[in-house]
Amino acid sequence: MSSPATRVDERAVWAALAEVTDPEIPVVSVVDLGMVRSVEVDGERLRVELLPTFVGCPALELIRGAVAARLAGMAPEVQVEMTFAEPWTSERITADGRRKLREVGFAPPEKGSEPAFGRRPGDSARQLRRAACPWCGSRDTALENPFGPTRCRAIFWCNRCRQPFEQFKAI
């Protein structure tokens, strides 16, 4: 079993992970989204930890299964786990991921624009910062609804295009 041929190539694992896309926004991969927390190779065992983007995201099991299926055969033993050991935040989305989101009409979350966390009952939704329109680039936009068609999306309105657009939520 432990012939040199079974040695796992970590770079090949990352390349394979970059092919597993988000089932809800298929232009971005789990790597683009920063969902991969760790890739560990221990002898014949390959272990990958993923960070859920949202606790209640219905696509999580689908994503875990797709990653496991893509990595199957790359090592004699492949383990893919979701973990809450650290929170996924939208800061983890890569520059490539942000570009790809913009290209298909999603405003990427702007760094540092997450709402303040914790006990702040005096805050209001108006404090969420504005997003740049992914079509015309205008910053003359307004938040329509902090909740969109999936867990990770908010709905904005562009005053210049006079049409709505979606933002990948800052969280």
Partner: protein, 260 residues
């Protein structure tokens, strides 16, 4: 990891932790089902979308918390969620009320979200690491809920006679039960073990102190109700909850052994 973290707790603290996980999970689960009642009939389309999202978040949080409980005590998370009799649920009495009208749902959510935020703050540095990790993630999502509910509280409080009077009426009915979110758990062993940062009575005070300026600014009567007495987390339940239980367990009860 879960096992290691649990091994450091004595028997009483472990039981209290199990009670806390079940109470939190049931709170989120039951609230999620009440929220989902608005799907299709909310006052505006945006709120159909928002409440469906809120419901999905809460039920997702419940699923993760039932998972932690199953890791701690064994058992199947789905069976814990759906396989109990109504009197075995441990959600706070605040969540026994039906959805009622929009002002009532907004007021209940605002009271719940602010109390829950206080509870999550006291758990984010928990010595029980599996819970601390999940809470750090939940808190980010709950912040969106808080912001949204606060915006609606402002809108209703400043929205003229009818919205304001409905909001006042809802708050009056809900106040006696609101503090139950931060009650009904054997907290002393949890504080001693570093699982919970402060006793629940202190969290109650912190929560009420935090709400006072918000209510003052919206010219709403300040929270007066004393911390609730017993019966905060069952076993007596309202007919409304019994109805909801019938609804959300209907599919599970039709074939408990089915695989999904």
């Amino acid at each position: 990891m879960t096992t290691q973290a649990a091994e450091r707790l004595d028997e009483r603290a472990r039981q209290a932790l199990a009670d806390l996980l079940l109470a939190m999970a049931d709170d989120e689960f039951v609230l999620g089902f009440w929220d989902s009642e608005w799907t299709g009939i909310a006052p505006v389309l945006e709120e159909d979308v928002a409440f469906a999202s809120l419901a999905q978040d809460e039920i997702g949080h419940a699923q993760a918390l039932y998972g932690l409980l199953a890791d701690l005590q064994g058992g199947d998370p789905d069976r814990i969620a759906f396989g109990r009799r109504p009197e075995q649920y441990r959600h706070a009495r605040l969540l026994d009320h039906p959805r009622t009208d929009w002002a009532f749902s907004v007021a209940r959510r605002f009271l719940y979200d602010t109390a829950d935020a206080t509870r999550l703050d006291a758990l984010v540095a928990s010595a029980y690491q599996p819970l601390a990790g999940l809470v750090a993630k939940m808190r980010r999502e709950e912040t969106y809920h808080l912001l949204h509910m606060h915006a609606w509280m402002e809108r209703l409080a400043n929205g003229g006679d009818e919205p304001r009077s409905r909001l006042l009426e809802a708050l009056q009915r809900l106040w006696p039960d609101a503090g139950c979110v931060l009650a009904g758990i054997d907290d002393a062993p949890l504080v001693a073990a570093g699982v919970l940062a402060e006793p629940l009575a202190d969290l109650q005070r912190r929560w009420r102190d935090g709400l006072a300026p918000v209510f003052q600014r919206l010219a709403l009567p300040s929270p007066t109700a004393a911390p609730p007495a017993g019966g905060c987390r069952g076993p007596e339940r309202s007919d409304d909850f019994l109805w909801l239980w019938e609804q959300f367990t209907m599919v599970y009860r039709s074939d408990p052994e089915a695989s999904w």
